[in-house]
Point group: C2
Chain length 319, copies 2
């Protein structure tokens, strides 16, 4: 294998946008889109931390891409293109690379995006995949973490904790799930399903928004801190899949709300927009659930049947 | 150490541009600059491949940044901001991070740029630093690799091979250099000095341009291939520092032209622009040397005193 051969065979066919110059230049170009801001995000995933070495190459590629598309969606941006930086350990084969690139190609079709550029090198360490994703929002309309106001409601898309449940199963935590339940949770660990189509409807609806990667409580905590408000979350309202309830029983809410890797969106909005939010969710074909309320103050609290649930560790930490 | 503490203490002070949101959001924003294209490049450097674990943290930071600024300069772009992705091995300390951030801060001042965002995580492998850099060029004016024409001259900035010489010294290749010569070469290995100020003068002067990272011959080969032309390089004309000549003697030209890590710019231009090129180099305070000529055909040849020099391996390869 050589670097230029890998790029030509596997990645150049994915670089369909003219600004990528067929991956044959030092840099790529993004033409100015007057009236729009370019939204930029970057996340690295690593073997042993975010995926397993034996995971399907296509799902590793899609996870690397989607954790970034999730950030763009949470900001109300429409994804446009991405950069890919790959550090390949000695075991990487042409077949592995072909499947990895096929995973990217399928997601490019699904989300209407193009590879823009990147860097490929060899590593003596674990495989890492770093994606930088680009999207557009109308000028000044990025949905930040900082706009939640007392009186707003807190919503979350999809269901929470499925990825963490999938990881628990892969780590051989005992369970009595049927095959369909097991497959659902493991699939969410391998390939997140961020609410991309809903994200582009957030600008103008949400007052603040965050992508749930560290954990529901931790990430709502970031939103509360950036907005200078307090948030109370009703534990009973946190949306959980039947599979996750079957896996974790009465522990499900607390584990789900603190484990991360969800790639759903938590956001605040005026309760007066509740109907618009439900309409947008229906158009995007996803579930949106009202789970809490914003008040003056600071911090996040989790309530269960009128009592405060103590949260020892609100989310995942790298260190 | 924790991820959020590291970001708040060491990196948030570097995020001076409003679009970085103080590193407290899921994504960053780059406002459209009507009439300009955004130029984007990304490169990862890794411990053991691009630097040594015991290298000064500030120089590791500056190398990671400058290898990217070099790409922007070669495209005629003016650097604006960058993303930083850090995978930290277990040994990383607060003191190491403080010095690393200080290196970035010094370069931000020097080049007039801001940190825009990033991602920090822990790794079980070697330290890697991934930078994505952004710059602007007037719309449609990016200097590509593809515009060289028969009859053009080939130029190169600065001197070639100093970084490779520095690496040879660090790898304990025997030498009889004095301290100043040794320090000059090792400094170029630790911290490249890409011709940033000259780069922004390239648009309108150069017909094609490439940043020399893989090796002078290899990278001019990329320019020749993208332009569909042949290039003949006069080995005698390749600019070498006195220190490198002292280190490698008669081997210096061939080793310098094939070893890479230079972060100088090779470019083609009409010989009619020779005076303008020399004036631009003088304004930027750097040396520019005419080293070859473009003809119809394909490939790169290296000539020495009228004879063809065989080049077994034109540049560095990762695999």
């Amino acid at each position: 294998m050589d670097e230029f051969g890998i790029i030509a065979r596997h990645f150049a066919p994915l670089a369909t946008t003219p600004g990528a110059f067929g991956l044959k230049d030092d840099a790529a170009a993004i033409a100015a889109r007057p009236g729009f801001d370019l939204i930029v995000t970057t996340d690295q995933i690593a073997e042993g931390t975010d995926f397993f070495a034996q995971d399907p190459p296509a799902s590793i590629a899609q996870k690397a891409l989607r954790v970034n598309l999730s950030d763009l969606a949470a900001k109300g941006a429409v994804a446009d293109c991405y950069l890919l930086v790959l550090a390949l350990p000695p075991g990487a084969t042409e077949e592995w690379l072909a499947q990895f690139a096929a995973g990217l190609g399928a997601d490019q079709q699904r989300y209407g995006i193009s590879l823009l550029g990147g860097d490929t090198s060899a590593t003596t360490g674990p495989l890492t995949v770093t994606v930088t994703a680009f999207g557009f929002v109308p000028q000044g309309r990025m949905v930040t973490r900082g706009g939640a106001k007392p009186g707003d409601a807190i919503y979350v898309t999809g269901s929470i904790g499925d990825s963490a449940g999938g990881l628990a199963i892969l780590k051989r935590e005992p369970h009595a799930l049927n095959q369909a339940q097991r497959d659902h949770l493991v699939a969410r660990y391998h390939t997140p399903e961020p609410p991309i189509d809903f994200g582009k409807r957030l600008a103008g609806l949400a007052t603040a928004s965050v992508d749930i990667s560290d954990g529901l409580i931790a990430d709502i905590g970031h939103l509360a801190a950036a907005s200078g408000v307090a948030v109370a979350v009703d534990a009973e309202a946190v949306p959980l899949s039947d599979a996750l309830r079957a896996l974790w029983g009465t522990d499900a809410i607390l584990r789900a709300a603190t484990s991360g890797d969800d790639y759903q969106i938590a956001f605040s909005a005026s309760p007066a927009r509740d109907g618009d939010i439900r309409a947008a969710a229906a158009q995007a074909g996803i579930a949106v659930t009202r789970i809490g309320a914003v008040a003056a103050g600071e911090g996040v609290t989790l309530h269960h049947q009128g009592r405060l649930l103590p949260v020892a560790r609100p989310g995942y930490r790298h260190f």
